[in-house]
Amino acid sequence: MSVLRLEDVWKSFGDHDVLRGIDLEVAQGEVVALIGSSGSGKSTLLRTVNLLEPIDDGRIVLGDADISDPRVDVDAVRARIGVVFQQYNLFPHLTVQHNITLALRHVHRMKRRDADAAAAVLLDRVGLAEKAAEHPDRLSGGQQQRVAIARAVATSPELLLLDEVTSALDPELVGEVLDLVRDLADDGMTIVMATHEMAFARDVADRVVFLDAGRILEQGRPSEVFGAPREERTREFLARFTA
């Protein structure tokens, strides 16, 4: 059964159509990489799935519920989805541990002791156990992003959205974050990620989706899209990355 299904999703900002009829289905445990140049609609697509942007037309189905219906409880929907942002968006006034336990305690009503224990396990997994009591601004970018990922998966979401999670990091720190994402993918997490890391997409994704001007121009297994792109636009785009 598919975890996420987009049916003919349209979204415009003013006169500019950002998404122009997106159809996409993501299966349980699948890792989908969205690639495409800036402005192709990758980030907007992720934001519409998390209901941060209302869509103009079409349908977004999470599990078996149409979440684009205005009658749905958006908070309940968002509680089922984990999101990691390009700029980490950690809460600077909370310690690393409290960043992770915030939703566990206040959305999922977990007891403080249990939430703290869960955070400790996660922090250990992302290799930051000794930073639990620090505030985010004292951490490096890579460490902050690893905390952000831990925060997103703490609530065991059905779907994890990654919005160019390594774009704000310097190259030395990209590896540690990608290793963590790979780890989650191996664990069976369903992931949709917008990325500029072509090598990583080729390596980890089950499917690569090439977006161009708000449409899905081409999609398939990484070996197909990267190895033998059908569309001229895709070839052009990929050529810039391998040059």
């Binding site: 003919d8 415009s12 006169d15 159509d17 009829g21 934001r47 942007e53 079409g58 349908r59 205005p70």
Partner: protein, 316 residues
């Protein structure tokens, strides 16, 4: 929410019909290159729902407002003394008769307000800037500015009015007698500058250090950085707080009546004594409320505009 222009809306399509986007235009092209697109039945139903929901919330808000107003009204007019209070405080004839004098006084309030608002902004900003100066050379100025804000935020405005309005003229520094509204303006400026400077300082400190680094790395001096980068951003951050202080000041200009100036409050007092009726005070109060409302609305509008311009994405 602006409805997407240039898109024709499907009408009468049966519910549950599959979505049919048409990439190519079926009619004449609207507004440049944008082709009209059929909107799906699902989306039309959603829009109808949102519209109904919007209409329902309007109805609910009107009904609840009316109910609250009715209850308040009934509670007040059923009090035993209502008839007397109405006669003493809400007498339309006396309101009309006293309006010209109260209005004349109110114009004095407006003049004092306009003058002190400008002075407060300038003086408050100066104080805030003094407090943000770095380096040991500036210690005396920093300390002076800090002491000033401490003292003038501590003294009640009424006492400042008395001290300035009666004390300074008593020094006979200047040979001419200055009008009361001059001293009133001075007292208001002294007190409110202390508050406003703290608001500015909070705003200046809330501008992220990286902005300062970026400006200095371009070669801008400390002063240029403050003037061109930090203060404009600080100003935006603190506009609501500043407007709040401005509204408070709009009412406090009424206190200059304590110095003997015939402003709206003093005029109302005179009229009240003449008619043995409190209605003139209510008239003055109404004028002050009418003065405050545009400021409050303006603040809301301005903050919404700034937010729309500088922040991407919807408000969650």
């Amino acid at each position: 929410m602006s409805s997407p222009s240039g898109r024709s809306r499907a009408t009468g399509s049966p519910p549950g019909e599959a979505t049919v986007p048409s990439g190519e235009a079926s009619g004449p092209p609207h507004e440049g290159s944008r082709p009209p697109r059929e909107v799906s039945a699902v989306e039309l139903e959603r829009r109808a729902f949102r519209k109904r929901q919007g209409a329902a919330s309007v109805v609910v808000s009107i009904v609840s407002t009316l109910v609250v107003a009715l209850i308040a009204w009934l509670l007040i007019i059923n009090t035993p003394g209502w008839a007397r209070v109405q006669q003493q405080f809400f007498n339309p004839e006396i309101a009309l008769a006293s309006l010209p004098r109260v209005w004349d006084g109110f114009l004095l309030n407006l003049r004092v307000l306009a003058m002190s608002a400008v002075l407060v902004l300038l003086f408050g900003l100066l104080l805030a800037t003094l407090r943000t100066l770095r380096g040991p050379v500036w210690l005396p100025l920093r300390a002076l500015a800090a002491a000033y804000t401490d003292v003038f935020r501590g003294i009640p405005l009424i006492i400042v009015l008395y001290l300035v309005g009666f004390g300074i003229p008593g020094l006979q520094l200047i040979p001419v007698r200055l009008p009361v509204e001059f001293w009133g303006t001075l007292a208001l400026t002294l007190t409110y500058s202390a508050y406003v400077s703290e608001v500015f300082r909070a705003g200046i400190e809330a501008v992220h250090p990286s902005q300062r680094h970026a400006a200095r790395s371009l070669g801008l001096s400390h002063g240029q950085t403050m003037r061109l980068v930090v203060v404009p951003q600080a100003f935006r951050k603190v506009t609501p707080a500043l407007m709040n202080d401005f509204v408070a000041m709009q009412k406090d200009v009424g206190l200059i009546s304590l110095l003997g100036a015939v402003d709206a409050v003093r005029a109302a007092q005179i009229e009240t004594a003449a008619y043995f009726n409190f209605t003139p005070y209510v008239v003055a109060a109404l004028l002050f409320v009418l003065l405050a409302i545009p400021t409050i609305r303006l603040t809301d509008w301005y903050t919404a505009r700034v937010r729309a311009r500088e922040q991407i994405g919807g408000i969650v």
